[in-house]
């Protein structure tokens, strides 16, 4: 049976892992390669690296990081952050990344998803969607949550599936960093309208939150600080889910 996945997310800046609350207040959480190795040993199913640096040297640093991570890691990993062209994607995949996540660049140029999926296959393309609740609808935000994209979250998710995305990484900005649980109504809604795997992100604070998200239709759950600061061990999380009847890889 296909296992539900646990995915630690590493926000990286210059090769170091940082984690913010509500997209702000960065704290240092260690070397990206070391953390990656630790998570793999502890039973993480996949990893996501989001490059949040903005320097000129950015692309080179990211490629170096991908190469170092790929040389030690024997589980799949996704790379995202500032990727704007098919050539960027090729370089990252060729350096050892398994999937590329597209966020702002996909909103600004939806054709990028189509072209990338056609060239590298849908399984390599993750559409990262950041949403915030405004009145009764979920609005898409880009540029690290700073700018409204004037798109409806669910409609945009449907559109990226049509364009060829293989997975959706859905982050609730309202929940991110709060540790009050994933946005369950949002996940349930999305699960009704799309047919590709969903990675839930934003809000994990305790064991039950993961169970809740999987029950709402998430195929994978992503968390960052919870794992970085060892507030929750992956192995204990998986044992808990297994006891609750959720298929996991132990």
């Amino acid at each position: 049976m296909l296992a539900k996945r646990i995915i630690p997310c590493l926000d990286v800046k210059g090769g170091r892992v940082v984690k913010g609350t509500n997209f702000l207040n960065l704290r240092d959480a260690g070397s990206a390669v070391e953390l990656a190795q630790r998570y793999s040993d502890e039973g993480a199913d996949e990893l996501v690296f989001l490059d949040i640096s903005a320097s000129e040297e950015k692309r080179k640093t990211l490629l170096e990081l991908v190469k170092s991570v790929a040389s030690v890691l024997r589980i799949p990993f996704t790379v995202g952050g500032g990727i704007t062209s098919v050539d960027d994607i090729f370089e990252l995949l060729n350096s050892g990344a398994d999937k590329i996540s597209l966020n702002t660049s996909a909103v600004e140029n939806p054709q990028l998803i189509y072209e990338a999926a056609k060239r590298f296959g849908s399984q390599a393309i993750v559409a990262a969607v950041d949403v915030k609740k405004v009145d009764s609808s979920y609005n898409v935000f880009i540029k690290g949550g700073k700018e409204a994209a004037h798109l409806d979250g669910l409609m945009w998710c449907k559109h990226v599936v049509e364009l060829g995305a293989g997975e959706i990484l859905l982050t609730s900005m309202d929940k991110d960093g709060t540790k009050t649980g994933y946005d369950i109504p949002l996940l349930s809604e999305l699960n009704k309208v799309i047919t590709i795997p969903i990675i839930a992100s934003g809000g994990a604070g305790e064991l039950f939150h993961f169970y809740e998200a999987f029950s709402a239709g998430a195929d994978a759950c992503l968390a960052a600080s919870l794992f970085h600061y060892r507030e929750l061990e992956i192995i204990n999380l998986k044992k808990y889910l297994h006891e609750k009847g959720v298929p996991v890889r132990i």
Binding site: A3, I75, G96, D98, G121
Partner: protein
């Protein structure tokens, strides 16, 4: 010496890293004469079937690969290409196995089949030595090779499909052994040492 075929469709870095870990001599190549000098061949595969076949055609490798007697391991798309044809881009493949690769279609299933799933051995194969039933491997695909007499292990995603196949010297795995933790490394080691 192992020839790891670089035809622009593969994540060759990950397979290369595993071969380095295992201290195996290998060459990343798309040239017939280099491949011919090697003892074994690995055809990795991420990407789309019709463009992969087109690339193999441009490289004039199709006839060579079809007729090789060297141990051959196709990974993911590399395994699917061993079949007769595929619904992905409606293209002919290497035609070694009289089987059509099909698209996963089901209203209730998430597609791609993405993540870790367990396999069950149904036929002996040197590739699967020391691999236990119910071990998890990493899959990422939307097309599948139906179960047949060539199937050596199956995976279940509400239906059974080939997780691994073998026809004489041709071996194939649908999952990514290079991304499947230690049990994946065992598969690659088996191919190098036992196949």
């Amino acid at each position: 010496m192992i020839a790891l075929i670089d035809y622009g469709a593969g994540n060759t870095a990950s397979v290369s890293n595993v071969l380095k870990d295992l201290n195996v001599e290998f060459i990343l190549t798309n040239e017939k004469k280099e491949i011919d000098r090697s003892e074994k061949i690995i055809l990795p595969g991420v990407g789309e079937a019709s463009s992969a076949m087109l690339r193999l055609k441009e490289l004039e490798l199709i006839e060579y690969l079809k007729n090789t007697t060297k141990p051959f391991l196709g990974i993911c798309l590399g395994m699917q290409l061993l079949c007769e044809s595929t619904e992905e881009g409606n293209t002919d493949c290497l035609k070694l196995l009289p089987i059509t690769v099909k698209k996963i279609t089901s209203k209730n299933l998430k597609i791609p089949h993405m993540g870790w799933n367990s396999i069950k051995k149904i036929n002996d194969s040197k590739l699967l030595i020391d691999v236990d039933d119910n071990q998890y491997f990493y899959f990422a695909h939307s097309f599948f090779v139906p179960q047949s007499k060539f199937t050596t292990s199956v995976c279940n995603y509400e239906f059974n499909f080939s997780a691994s196949i073998q026809l004489n010297n041709f071996f194939g795995v649908q999952f990514h052994p290079e991304k499947s933790s230690m049990q994946g490394v065992t598969i690659i080691k088996n191919f190098i040492e036992k196949c």
